[in-house]
C-alpha cells in the first residue's frame, strides 16, 4: 500500500513536471505574440509581424508537446487516482471538462488558422486569431487553477455519507478566495518564462551577430516584459498567495518558511539554512528577526505558529522538499528582478547591446525561470500534503485500489524513457527554429 502511494505520486510528479515545461511558455508567449501583432497593426513595420510569426512557430512546437504530455495528465486522474476521481469527480470534473470545452478547442482551432491563414484572412483577422489563441491558453490556466484552488481550499461542496463530494454551489468554484491570487501569480510567472526565453534568444542573436536586428527587438521586448512580470510575480501576487497560505494552511506555511519553533515575539525570515529533521531545527541558519511577521501581517511582533503547534500527521510529509522548493522559487524570483532591472537600466543608457557579460548572463539564465515556476508548483503541491483535498481527503486515500505498485513502476519507467526522447527531439526542433531565425523563407 505504501509502495502504491509512493509510485503513484512519483509518476504524477514526474509527468506533470515535464508537462508544465510547455504550457508555462505558451501562456506567456501568447501574450507577447499578441503584443507584436498589435504593434505591427499600428506601425506596419514588417519586423514586428515576422517576430510574431517566428514566436508562433516556437509556440506551436511547445503547444504540440503540451498536448501530447497533457493527455496523460487527464488520464492519470482515472488510472492512478481512481478513488480521488470517484469521490471528487462531480466537482473537479466540472472545471476540467470546462477547460476542454472552452480553452482547448479555442486554442487549437485558432492556432491552425494563425499559422496557415494569414494570407486568407488579412491582418486584422490574423491579429484576432492570435488574440483568441492567447485567450484560449489563459482560459486553460484559469480552469486548471480553479481545479487546484478547490483542492487547496475546498468550497461549494457537500460530503455525502458514502464519502462523495457533490457540488453544492457552482459559482463558488470561481469565487474561491484562493483562485484569483494563484491564477495571477501563475500567469505572471509564465510571462517571466516567456520574457526570459525571448530575451535569451535576442542575446544569442546579438552575441552571434546573426539576425541582430531581431536580436535587439527580442532583447528589448524580453527585458521590458521580464522586469514588469518579475516584479508582479513577487508583489502583489506572490505576497497575496503567501498570506493565503498563512491563513488557510498554517502548517504548510510554517514548513515552507522553516519555522520549527513558535517565537512569541514575532517570526524571523529565513534566508539560508537546511532543515534538520532529526533535531527539528535549521542548520547554519541566516535569518532576519521579525520580518516574516511584518510581511505576513504588517505587525512586527505578531506570533506565527511554528511546526511544533501541529500534529505530525497534519504537517506536509516532506518538509525539506517543501522548504527548498519555496526558497529556490523566492531566491530565483529575486535574482530575476535584479538582472532585469540592471538590463533595463543599461537599455535606457543605450549600452545593453554591447555589454557582452550581461548578454551572456541573460542568455544562460533561460533554464531558471522554468525551475522557479516548477518549484513554485512544488511548493503549492507539497504544502497541501498530506491531503489531496485540503483537510478533507488524504492523499493515501485517493489512489487506485486495483493498480499495483509494480504496474505503476513499469509505466513510470516507460514515461521516463519516452519523455527523454521527447525532450531531446524538442530541443533539436526548437534549436533548429531559433537557428533559422525570424527572417521569412524565400520560396
Amino acid at each position: 500500500m505504501e509502495d502504491m502511494l509512493f509510485y503513484d505520486r512519483l509518476q504524477f510528479a514526474f509527468t506533470i513536471t515535464f508537462h508544465y515545461i510547455f504550457p508555462q511558455l505558451t501562456m506567456g508567449l501568447s501574450l507577447m505574440i499578441v503584443y507584436f501583432k498589435w504593434k505591427y497593426l499600428r506601425n506596419k513595420i514588417e519586423k514586428y509581424n515576422n517576430a510574431a510569426k517566428f514566436f508562433m512557430k516556437i509556440f506551436a512546437i511547445n503547444f504540440t508537446m503540451g498536448v501530447v504530455t497533457g493527455i496523460p495528465m487527464e488520464f492519470q486522474f482515472g488510472t492512478n487516482w481512481a478513488k480521488f476521481s470517484e469521490l471528487t469527480g462531480g466537482i473537479i470534473g466540472q472545471t476540467l471538462a470546462m477547460e476542454g470545452m472552452f480553452s482547448f478547442f479555442l486554442e487549437s482551432s485558432f492556432l491552425a488558422l494563425f499559422i496557415f491563414g494569414e494570407k486568407l484572412m488579412g491582418q486584422k483577422l490574423h491579429f484576432l486569431t492570435g488574440f483568441l489563441v492567447f485567450l484560449g491558453s489563459w482560459a486553460s490556466g484559469w480552469f486548471i487553477l480553479a481545479t487546484n484552488a478547490w483542492m487547496q481550499h475546498p468550497v461549494g461542496y457537500e460530503i455525502l455519507d458514502n464519502g462523495k463530494f457533490v457540488l453544492d454551489n457552482f459559482s463558488a468554484l470561481f469565487t474561491n478566495p484562493w483562485l484569483l491570487p494563484a491564477f495571477l501569480h501563475n500567469q505572471m510567472a509564465s510571462v517571466v518564462t516567456s520574457a526570459f526565453v525571448m530575451a535569451s534568444i535576442g542575446a544569442f542573436y546579438i552575441l552571434r551577430d546573426k539576425h541582430s536586428e531581431y536580436g535587439r527587438l527580442f532583447l528589448k521586448t524580453g527585458v521590458i516584459f521580464g522586469l514588469i512580470s518579475s516584479v508582479l510575480v513577487a508583489f502583489p501576487t506572490g505576497d497575496w498567495n503567501a498570506k493565503n497560505v498563512a491563513k488557510h494552511q498554517p502548517g504548510a506555511f510554517a514548513a515552507m518558511e522553516g519555522i520549527f519553533e513558535t517565537e512569541d515575539a514575532g517570526a524571523e525570515i529565513v534566508l539560508i539554512g537546511q532543515p534538520n529533521m532529526v533535531e527539528k531545527k535549521l542548520d547554519n541558519k541566516i535569518a532576519v528577526p521579525n520580518i516574516l511577521s511584518f510581511l505576513t501581517y504588517q505587525e512586527w511582533h505578531r506570533q506565527i505558529p511554528g511546526m511544533d503547534q501541529f500534529e505530525e500527521d497534519e504537517l506536509p510529509d516532506n518538509i525539506p522538499a517543501l522548504y527548498y522548493s519555496y526558497h529556490i522559487m523566492v531566491g530565483l524570483g529575486t535574482i530575476f528582478i535584479g538582472v532585469m532591472a540592471l538590463a533595463l537600466f543599461f537599455l535606457w543608457r543605450k549600452k545593453l547591446y554591447n555589454m557582452k557579460s550581461l548578454l551572456w548572463t541573460i542568455m544562460f539564465l533561460v533554464p531558471f525561470p522554468y525551475i522557479a515556476n516548477i518549484t513554485g508548483w512544488y511548493t503549492a503541491e507539497l504544502g497541501r500534503q498530506p491531503y489531496l483535498v485540503y483537510g478533507l481527503l488524504r492523499t493515501s486515500d485517493g489512489i487506485s485500489p486495483t493498480v499495483s505498485s509494480g504496474n505503476t513502476l513499469f509505466t513510470l519507467l516507460g514515461f521516463v524513457a519516452l519523455y527523454m526522447l521527447l525532450g531531446l527531439l524538442f530541443l533539436v526542433l526548437v534549436g533548429k527554429t531559433i537557428n533559422h531565425g525570424p527572417t521569412p523563407q524565400k520560396h
Binding site: G78, G90, G93, F105, S108, A112, S400, T402, L429, K432
Partner: protein, 357 residues
Amino acid sequence: MEIFWYIAIGIVLTVFFILDGYDFGAGIIHLFFAKEEKDKEVITKSAGLFWDSNEVWLVAAGGMLFMAFPTFYASVFSGFYLPLIIVLWLIIFRAIGLEFRGQFKYQMWKDIWDKSFGVSSLLLALFFGIALGNIVRGVNLGSVENGVSAHEGHYFFLPLWDSSFSPLTDHPGVIDWFTIIIGLIAVVTLAIHGANWIILKTNSSINKKLKGVIFKLNIALATLTIFSLVVWQNVNPNSLDNFIHKPYLMLFPVIYLTGLIGLFFIKKIKKNSHAFLLSTLLILGGITSSLASLFPVILPSINNKHEDLTIYNTSASEYGLSVALIWGIIGFALIVVYFIIQKRLMSGKIDNMDYGH
C-alpha cells in the same frame, strides 16, 4: 439528465473517432501502400495538419466523462490501466512521427518517423477496437474469485490477456479472440476511412489504387461484421434486448449497413466527399449500435455478485449535471462555430499547403 450527458459524451466520442479516425486510417494506409516519397509526404501532411485539433475531442470526451460519470471514469481508467497507458504512449509516438519527419532531409530519418506514425496508427486503431470489445463483453467487476470480491463492486483490474484468450471465462483479459475481432473491425474501418480521406484531401499517385483497396477492405469488413454478429450473442447474451424492445434503435445498425453496402460501389461513386461520408456512417453506426445495445449499461458485469455499471449508478449529482448543461450548451455552440470557420478556411486539397516549421 444522465441520459442527456450520456448522449452528449457519445456524440463527442463519435466525433473524435470520425475525425481522428481519418488520420489513424491515413497512418494505416501510409504504412502499407505509400511507396514513393511524394505520396508519403502528402499523406503525413494530410494527417499532420489536423491531428492535434482532432485529439482535442478525446480530451473533451475524457473531461466530460470525468464530470458526469466519475465512478465509471475511475473504474474503467484504473481497471484498464495497462492498455490505457500503452494507448497514451502510442499517441505520443504517432505525434512525434508526424511532427518530426519533415524536419530533416535524410531518408533514414524520414523512414524512422514514417514507421512510428504508421505502426502506432495501426496499433491505436486496434486498441480502440479492443476497448470497445471489452466494454461490450463486460469485465469481472469487483475482481471476484471463488465468490469472494477482492475490491469494491465497481473496481476491477484486467491483465492484458488471460491464457485461455477466451471472452467466456470468469476473468477474461483485455485481449481475447472476441475483442481481437472487434479490434480488427476497427482497423479495417479506419483504414477505409483514412483511404477516403487521402483521396479527398490529396492528389497522391495512389489515389486510383486506393479505391480498389477500399473495395477489398470492405469485403473483409463485411466478413468480420457477420462473424462478430454471430458470436456477439454468446459474449453478451442481452445484446439484442434493447433492439427488440425499442425497434427505433435499429436506426443505428441501419446507418452502419448503409455505409457498408454503399462502399461496395466505391468505384462508381463520383464525388470523393460522398465516399468519405459513407465511411463516416460506418464509424457513426458502429459506435452508436454498440452503445445502443448496452444502454443504460456502460460496463456489464460478468459475475452475479456485482451489478452492471449503468449511467445511473455512476453519475454525478443532479445539481452538478444541470449546471454543466448550461455551460455545456454554450461551449458546444462555440465549438460548432470554430469548426465551421476552420473547415471553411482549410477546405480543398492540401498538397501545396505550407506545413512544418
